[in-house]
Protein backbone atom coordinates (compact mmCIF):
# COMPACT_ATOMS: atom_id res chain seq x y z
CA UNK A 1 0.00 0.00 0.00
CA UNK A 2 1.10 3.51 -0.56
CA UNK A 3 3.35 3.10 -3.56
CA UNK A 4 0.66 4.35 -5.98
CA UNK A 5 0.24 7.57 -4.07
CA UNK A 6 1.15 10.66 -5.99
CA UNK A 7 4.32 12.40 -4.91
CA UNK A 8 2.29 15.47 -4.09
CA UNK A 9 -1.06 14.77 -2.48
CA UNK A 10 -2.81 18.03 -1.62
CA UNK A 11 -3.86 18.45 2.01
CA UNK A 12 -6.71 20.84 2.75
CA UNK A 13 -6.12 22.64 6.03
CA UNK A 14 -8.90 22.76 8.62
CA UNK A 15 -9.25 25.71 10.97
CA UNK A 16 -8.62 24.61 14.56
CA UNK A 17 -10.82 27.41 15.90
CA UNK A 18 -13.81 27.94 13.61
CA UNK A 19 -14.30 24.59 11.86
CA UNK A 20 -17.93 24.47 13.04
CA UNK A 21 -19.05 27.88 11.68
CA UNK A 22 -21.70 27.80 8.99
CA UNK A 23 -22.27 24.04 9.31
CA UNK A 24 -25.69 23.48 10.95
CA UNK A 25 -24.74 19.94 11.99
CA UNK A 26 -21.59 21.07 13.79
CA UNK A 27 -23.32 24.16 15.23
CA UNK A 28 -25.96 21.90 16.83
CA UNK A 29 -23.17 19.82 18.35
CA UNK A 30 -21.45 22.92 19.71
CA UNK A 31 -24.76 24.17 21.17
CA UNK A 32 -25.18 20.82 22.95
CA UNK A 33 -21.65 20.99 24.35
CA UNK A 34 -21.60 24.70 25.22
CA UNK A 35 -24.85 24.53 27.22
CA UNK A 36 -23.01 22.44 29.83
CA UNK A 37 -21.49 25.77 30.93
CA UNK A 38 -24.92 26.68 32.37
CA UNK A 39 -24.76 23.61 34.61
CA UNK A 40 -21.23 24.57 35.62
CA UNK A 41 -22.42 28.11 36.43
CA UNK A 42 -25.32 26.81 38.48
CA UNK A 43 -23.03 24.71 40.68
CA UNK A 44 -21.34 28.00 41.68
CA UNK A 45 -24.73 29.36 42.68
CA UNK A 46 -25.27 26.28 44.87
CA UNK A 47 -21.84 26.72 46.49
CA UNK A 48 -22.68 30.37 47.12
CA UNK A 49 -25.97 29.25 48.72
CA UNK A 50 -24.13 26.80 51.00
CA UNK A 51 -21.66 29.48 52.04
CA UNK A 52 -24.52 31.90 52.81
CA UNK A 53 -26.20 29.21 54.90
CA UNK A 54 -22.99 28.58 56.84
CA UNK A 55 -22.56 32.31 57.48
CA UNK A 56 -25.85 32.64 59.34
CA UNK A 57 -29.43 33.85 58.80
CA UNK A 58 -28.51 37.37 57.64
CA UNK A 59 -26.15 36.13 54.98
CA UNK A 60 -28.78 33.66 53.81
CA UNK A 61 -31.45 36.38 53.62
CA UNK A 62 -29.06 38.49 51.56
CA UNK A 63 -28.52 35.51 49.26
CA UNK A 64 -32.29 35.04 48.86
CA UNK A 65 -32.68 38.75 48.11
CA UNK A 66 -30.01 38.46 45.43
CA UNK A 67 -31.87 35.48 43.94
CA UNK A 68 -35.07 37.53 43.78
CA UNK A 69 -33.42 40.46 42.07
CA UNK A 70 -34.05 40.88 38.31
CA UNK A 71 -30.47 39.76 37.63
CA UNK A 72 -30.96 36.67 39.80
CA UNK A 73 -34.20 35.76 38.01
CA UNK A 74 -32.61 36.38 34.61
CA UNK A 75 -29.67 34.14 35.54
CA UNK A 76 -32.00 31.35 36.65
CA UNK A 77 -34.08 31.64 33.48
CA UNK A 78 -30.98 31.52 31.29
CA UNK A 79 -29.73 28.47 33.20
CA UNK A 80 -33.12 26.78 32.87
CA UNK A 81 -33.17 27.26 29.09
CA UNK A 82 -29.55 26.08 28.75
CA UNK A 83 -30.00 23.02 30.95
CA UNK A 84 -33.28 21.99 29.29
CA UNK A 85 -31.64 22.25 25.84
CA UNK A 86 -28.61 20.30 27.08
CA UNK A 87 -30.77 17.56 28.60
CA UNK A 88 -33.11 17.22 25.62
CA UNK A 89 -30.22 17.04 23.15
CA UNK A 90 -28.51 14.33 25.20
CA UNK A 91 -31.70 12.35 25.88
CA UNK A 92 -32.38 12.24 22.14
CA UNK A 93 -29.04 10.43 21.68
CA UNK A 94 -29.65 7.72 24.28
CA UNK A 95 -31.17 5.09 21.93
CA UNK A 96 -27.91 5.11 19.94
CA UNK A 97 -25.73 4.56 23.00
CA UNK A 98 -28.03 2.15 24.83
CA UNK A 99 -29.97 0.03 22.36
CA UNK A 100 -32.16 -2.61 24.01
CA UNK A 101 -32.74 -5.84 22.16
CA UNK A 102 -35.71 -8.00 23.08
CA UNK A 103 -35.74 -11.21 21.11
CA UNK A 104 -35.17 -10.39 17.46
CA UNK A 105 -36.34 -6.80 17.74
CA UNK A 106 -34.85 -3.64 19.21
CA UNK A 107 -36.98 -1.62 21.62
CA UNK A 108 -38.16 1.54 19.76
CA UNK A 109 -35.90 4.52 20.43
CA UNK A 110 -38.79 6.68 21.62
CA UNK A 111 -39.37 4.30 24.53
CA UNK A 112 -35.74 4.64 25.64
CA UNK A 113 -35.90 8.44 25.36
CA UNK A 114 -39.27 8.41 27.16
CA UNK A 115 -37.80 6.38 30.02
CA UNK A 116 -35.17 9.08 30.48
CA UNK A 117 -37.84 11.79 30.65
CA UNK A 118 -39.71 9.61 33.14
CA UNK A 119 -36.59 9.30 35.29
CA UNK A 120 -36.07 13.05 35.05
CA UNK A 121 -39.67 13.67 36.20
CA UNK A 122 -39.31 11.28 39.15
CA UNK A 123 -36.05 12.90 40.34
CA UNK A 124 -37.61 16.37 39.94
CA UNK A 125 -40.63 15.30 41.99
CA UNK A 126 -38.35 13.93 44.74
CA UNK A 127 -36.44 17.24 44.83
CA UNK A 128 -39.72 19.15 44.89
CA UNK A 129 -41.02 16.93 47.71
CA UNK A 130 -37.85 17.44 49.76
CA UNK A 131 -38.01 21.20 49.18
CA UNK A 132 -41.62 21.74 50.24
Amino acid sequence: MGEEMSSKPYIREISKTNWFYGQPRYMRYMAREVTCIFIFAYTFLLIWALRALANGPEAYQAFLAALNSPLGILFNLAVLVGVVYHSISWFSLTPQAMPLQRGEEFVPGNLIIGAHYGGWAVVSLIVLFLGV
Binding site: P9, Q23, E33, A97
Partner: protein
Protein backbone atom coordinates in the same frame (compact mmCIF):
# COMPACT_ATOMS: atom_id res chain seq x y z
CA UNK B 1 -37.91 12.76 -20.60
CA UNK B 2 -37.12 16.23 -19.30
CA UNK B 3 -33.63 17.63 -19.62
CA UNK B 4 -32.07 20.31 -17.47
CA UNK B 5 -28.81 22.18 -18.01
CA UNK B 6 -26.65 21.96 -14.88
CA UNK B 7 -23.50 23.90 -14.05
CA UNK B 8 -21.28 21.27 -12.51
CA UNK B 9 -18.40 22.85 -10.57
CA UNK B 10 -15.68 20.30 -10.03
CA UNK B 11 -12.60 20.74 -7.87
CA UNK B 12 -9.64 19.80 -10.06
CA UNK B 13 -6.11 19.05 -8.93
CA UNK B 14 -3.27 17.70 -11.03
CA UNK B 15 -0.27 16.91 -8.79
CA UNK B 16 2.09 17.20 -11.76
CA UNK B 17 1.13 20.74 -12.75
CA UNK B 18 -0.96 22.36 -10.00
CA UNK B 19 0.25 23.85 -6.73
CA UNK B 20 -3.30 23.90 -5.40
CA UNK B 21 -6.78 22.74 -6.44
CA UNK B 22 -8.99 24.93 -8.65
CA UNK B 23 -12.67 24.84 -9.61
CA UNK B 24 -13.66 24.02 -13.16
CA UNK B 25 -17.25 24.40 -14.35
CA UNK B 26 -18.89 22.11 -16.90
CA UNK B 27 -22.29 22.71 -18.45
CA UNK B 28 -24.06 19.33 -18.44
CA UNK B 29 -27.47 18.46 -19.95
CA UNK B 30 -28.98 16.21 -17.26
CA UNK B 31 -31.99 13.92 -17.42
CA UNK B 32 -34.47 13.87 -14.55
CA UNK B 33 -33.42 10.42 -13.36
CA UNK B 34 -29.70 11.17 -13.35
CA UNK B 35 -27.50 11.12 -10.28
CA UNK B 36 -24.34 13.22 -9.90
CA UNK B 37 -22.27 10.24 -11.01
CA UNK B 38 -24.13 10.24 -14.36
CA UNK B 39 -23.24 13.91 -14.79
CA UNK B 40 -19.57 13.15 -14.07
CA UNK B 41 -19.66 10.28 -16.56
CA UNK B 42 -21.16 12.67 -19.12
CA UNK B 43 -18.27 15.07 -18.56
CA UNK B 44 -15.72 12.26 -18.86
CA UNK B 45 -17.31 10.86 -22.04
CA UNK B 46 -18.14 14.10 -23.82
CA UNK B 47 -16.41 17.15 -22.41
CA UNK B 48 -13.15 16.37 -20.62
CA UNK B 49 -11.43 13.00 -20.66
CA UNK B 50 -8.82 14.14 -18.14
CA UNK B 51 -11.29 14.23 -15.22
CA UNK B 52 -10.40 11.62 -12.56
CA UNK B 53 -12.86 10.10 -10.08
CA UNK B 54 -13.59 6.68 -8.61
CA UNK B 55 -16.70 4.66 -9.23
CA UNK B 56 -17.76 1.12 -9.90
CA UNK B 57 -21.22 -0.26 -9.14
CA UNK B 58 -23.53 2.75 -9.63
CA UNK B 59 -25.91 1.29 -7.00
CA UNK B 60 -24.63 2.26 -3.55
CA UNK B 61 -22.94 -1.07 -2.89
CA UNK B 62 -19.25 -0.67 -3.74
CA UNK B 63 -18.60 2.52 -1.75
CA UNK B 64 -16.22 3.97 -4.35
CA UNK B 65 -17.90 7.20 -5.42
CA UNK B 66 -17.99 9.07 -2.11
CA UNK B 67 -17.42 12.82 -2.61
CA UNK B 68 -18.51 16.18 -1.26
CA UNK B 69 -21.62 17.37 -3.08
CA UNK B 70 -22.47 20.95 -2.15
CA UNK B 71 -20.30 20.42 0.93
CA UNK B 72 -22.07 17.23 2.08
CA UNK B 73 -20.38 13.81 2.01
CA UNK B 74 -22.49 11.76 -0.43
CA UNK B 75 -22.29 8.80 -2.74
CA UNK B 76 -22.38 10.35 -6.23
CA UNK B 77 -24.50 7.38 -7.36
CA UNK B 78 -27.16 8.11 -4.74
CA UNK B 79 -27.34 11.91 -5.13
CA UNK B 80 -30.15 12.71 -7.56
CA UNK B 81 -29.64 15.81 -9.69
CA UNK B 82 -33.35 16.65 -9.40
CA UNK B 83 -32.86 17.31 -5.67
CA UNK B 84 -30.34 20.08 -6.39
CA UNK B 85 -30.47 23.58 -7.85
CA UNK B 86 -28.95 24.33 -11.28
CA UNK B 87 -25.45 24.73 -9.85
CA UNK B 88 -23.81 21.80 -8.09
CA UNK B 89 -20.34 21.81 -6.57
CA UNK B 90 -18.44 18.53 -6.42
CA UNK B 91 -15.24 18.15 -4.38
CA UNK B 92 -13.15 15.22 -3.17
CA UNK B 93 -14.06 13.72 0.22
CA UNK B 94 -13.12 16.09 3.04
CA UNK B 95 -10.43 15.14 5.59
CA UNK B 96 -8.47 13.07 3.04
CA UNK B 97 -5.47 14.23 0.97
CA UNK B 98 -6.35 14.86 -2.68
CA UNK B 99 -4.56 12.47 -4.99
CA UNK B 100 -5.94 13.90 -8.25
CA UNK B 101 -9.23 15.70 -9.01
CA UNK B 102 -11.94 13.84 -7.05
CA UNK B 103 -9.64 10.95 -6.13
CA UNK B 104 -8.44 10.94 -2.52
CA UNK B 105 -5.59 9.06 -0.83
CA UNK B 106 -7.25 6.46 1.40
CA UNK B 107 -4.23 4.55 2.73
CA UNK B 108 -4.77 5.93 6.23
CA UNK B 109 -8.28 4.50 6.42
CA UNK B 110 -7.24 1.13 4.97
CA UNK B 111 -4.45 0.80 7.55
CA UNK B 112 -6.81 1.74 10.40
CA UNK B 113 -9.44 -0.69 9.19
CA UNK B 114 -6.88 -3.52 9.10
CA UNK B 115 -5.64 -2.63 12.60
CA UNK B 116 -9.00 -3.51 14.23
CA UNK B 117 -8.98 -7.06 12.77
CA UNK B 118 -12.37 -6.78 11.07
CA UNK B 119 -12.91 -10.51 10.62
CA UNK B 120 -14.13 -13.41 12.72
CA UNK B 121 -11.61 -14.67 15.25
CA UNK B 122 -13.32 -17.87 16.46
CA UNK B 123 -13.28 -18.56 20.20
CA UNK B 124 -11.75 -21.98 19.54
CA UNK B 125 -10.38 -23.71 16.50
CA UNK B 126 -12.72 -26.27 15.12
CA UNK B 127 -11.99 -28.79 12.37
CA UNK B 128 -14.14 -28.42 9.27
CA UNK B 129 -15.68 -31.85 9.94
CA UNK B 130 -17.15 -30.45 13.20
CA UNK B 131 -19.54 -28.35 11.13
CA UNK B 132 -20.42 -24.70 10.93
CA UNK B 133 -20.56 -22.11 13.71
CA UNK B 134 -24.27 -21.78 14.31
CA UNK B 135 -26.10 -18.64 15.24
CA UNK B 136 -29.72 -17.81 16.09
CA UNK B 137 -31.63 -14.99 14.32
CA UNK B 138 -31.55 -13.05 17.61
CA UNK B 139 -27.74 -13.31 17.76
CA UNK B 140 -27.52 -12.21 14.13
CA UNK B 141 -29.80 -9.22 14.72
CA UNK B 142 -27.48 -7.93 17.45
CA UNK B 143 -24.79 -6.89 14.94
CA UNK B 144 -26.49 -7.06 11.53
CA UNK B 145 -26.77 -3.32 10.95
CA UNK B 146 -22.98 -2.92 11.29
CA UNK B 147 -22.40 -5.51 8.55
CA UNK B 148 -24.00 -3.08 6.09
CA UNK B 149 -20.90 -0.84 6.08
CA UNK B 150 -19.48 -0.48 2.56
CA UNK B 151 -16.26 1.32 3.57
CA UNK B 152 -17.25 4.40 1.58
CA UNK B 153 -15.55 6.74 4.10
CA UNK B 154 -18.36 9.31 4.08
CA UNK B 155 -18.31 9.05 7.89
CA UNK B 156 -14.62 10.05 7.95
CA UNK B 157 -15.36 13.04 5.71
CA UNK B 158 -18.18 14.11 8.05
CA UNK B 159 -16.23 13.61 11.28
CA UNK B 160 -14.65 16.89 12.46
CA UNK B 161 -12.67 14.97 15.03
CA UNK B 162 -10.92 12.94 12.30
CA UNK B 163 -10.21 16.17 10.43
CA UNK B 164 -8.70 17.82 13.51
CA UNK B 165 -6.94 14.75 14.97
CA UNK B 166 -5.84 12.54 12.07
CA UNK B 167 -4.61 9.85 14.49
CA UNK B 168 -8.23 9.12 15.45
CA UNK B 169 -9.15 5.59 14.41
CA UNK B 170 -12.48 6.93 13.14
CA UNK B 171 -16.11 5.84 12.83
CA UNK B 172 -16.18 2.98 10.31
CA UNK B 173 -13.14 1.10 11.67
CA UNK B 174 -14.50 1.12 15.23
CA UNK B 175 -18.05 0.30 14.08
CA UNK B 176 -16.67 -2.73 12.23
CA UNK B 177 -14.64 -3.80 15.27
CA UNK B 178 -17.89 -3.53 17.26
CA UNK B 179 -19.65 -5.64 14.61
CA UNK B 180 -17.27 -8.54 15.25
CA UNK B 181 -17.22 -7.99 19.02
CA UNK B 182 -21.02 -8.34 19.03
CA UNK B 183 -20.90 -11.57 17.02
CA UNK B 184 -21.67 -14.64 19.15
CA UNK B 185 -19.18 -16.71 17.12
CA UNK B 186 -16.29 -14.34 17.77
CA UNK B 187 -13.64 -14.48 20.49
CA UNK B 188 -11.35 -11.65 19.36
CA UNK B 189 -12.64 -8.78 21.51
CA UNK B 190 -9.57 -8.62 23.78
CA UNK B 191 -7.30 -8.22 20.73
CA UNK B 192 -9.47 -5.46 19.28
CA UNK B 193 -9.90 -3.65 22.59
CA UNK B 194 -6.17 -2.87 22.68
CA UNK B 195 -6.67 -0.78 19.56
CA UNK B 196 -10.20 0.59 19.84
CA UNK B 197 -10.32 1.33 23.59
CA UNK B 198 -7.13 3.41 23.37
CA UNK B 199 -6.93 7.19 23.40
CA UNK B 200 -6.71 7.35 19.60
CA UNK B 201 -9.58 4.89 19.51
CA UNK B 202 -13.03 5.46 20.86
CA UNK B 203 -12.00 8.09 23.44
CA UNK B 204 -11.12 10.57 20.73
CA UNK B 205 -14.81 10.58 19.72
CA UNK B 206 -16.88 13.41 21.19
CA UNK B 207 -20.19 12.14 19.73
CA UNK B 208 -20.79 14.84 17.15
CA UNK B 209 -22.92 12.20 15.46
CA UNK B 210 -22.26 13.49 11.93
CA UNK B 211 -20.98 10.04 10.86
CA UNK B 212 -24.39 8.47 11.42
CA UNK B 213 -26.23 11.34 9.74
CA UNK B 214 -24.30 10.95 6.48
CA UNK B 215 -24.02 7.14 6.42
CA UNK B 216 -25.73 5.98 3.19
CA UNK B 217 -26.36 2.51 4.64
CA UNK B 218 -27.76 3.58 8.05
CA UNK B 219 -25.04 1.74 9.92
CA UNK B 220 -25.06 4.28 12.79
CA UNK B 221 -21.32 4.24 13.55
CA UNK B 222 -21.83 6.92 16.24
CA UNK B 223 -24.08 4.51 18.13
CA UNK B 224 -21.45 1.75 17.85
CA UNK B 225 -18.75 4.05 19.23
CA UNK B 226 -20.84 5.04 22.26
CA UNK B 227 -21.58 1.37 22.95
CA UNK B 228 -17.86 0.62 22.80
CA UNK B 229 -17.25 3.47 25.28
CA UNK B 230 -19.80 2.03 27.71
CA UNK B 231 -18.41 -1.51 27.40
CA UNK B 232 -14.82 -0.23 27.85
CA UNK B 233 -15.84 1.75 30.93
CA UNK B 234 -17.45 -1.36 32.44
CA UNK B 235 -14.20 -3.24 31.68
CA UNK B 236 -12.23 -0.59 33.55
CA UNK B 237 -14.44 -0.75 36.65
CA UNK B 238 -14.34 -4.54 36.65
CA UNK B 239 -10.57 -4.52 36.37
CA UNK B 240 -9.94 -1.89 39.05
CA UNK B 241 -12.79 -2.37 41.53
CA UNK B 242 -13.47 -6.07 41.14
CA UNK B 243 -10.18 -7.63 40.04
CA UNK B 244 -11.41 -11.05 41.17
CA UNK B 245 -14.18 -11.00 38.55
CA UNK B 246 -13.10 -12.44 35.24
CA UNK B 247 -14.23 -10.59 32.14
Amino acid sequence: MSERQIQLEVLRYNPETDSEPRLQTYSVPCLNEWVVLDALNYVKDNLDTTLSYRWSCHMAVCGSCGMMINGEPKLACKAFIREYADQIRVEPLANFPIERDLVTAVEDFIAKLASVKPYLIPKEDKPIEAGEFKQTPTELKKYKQYTLCINCMLCYAACPQYGLVPEFLGPAAIALAHRYNQDSRDGGRDQRQEVIASHEGVWECSFVGACSEVCPKHVDPAGALQQVKIASTIDWYKEHLMPWVKK
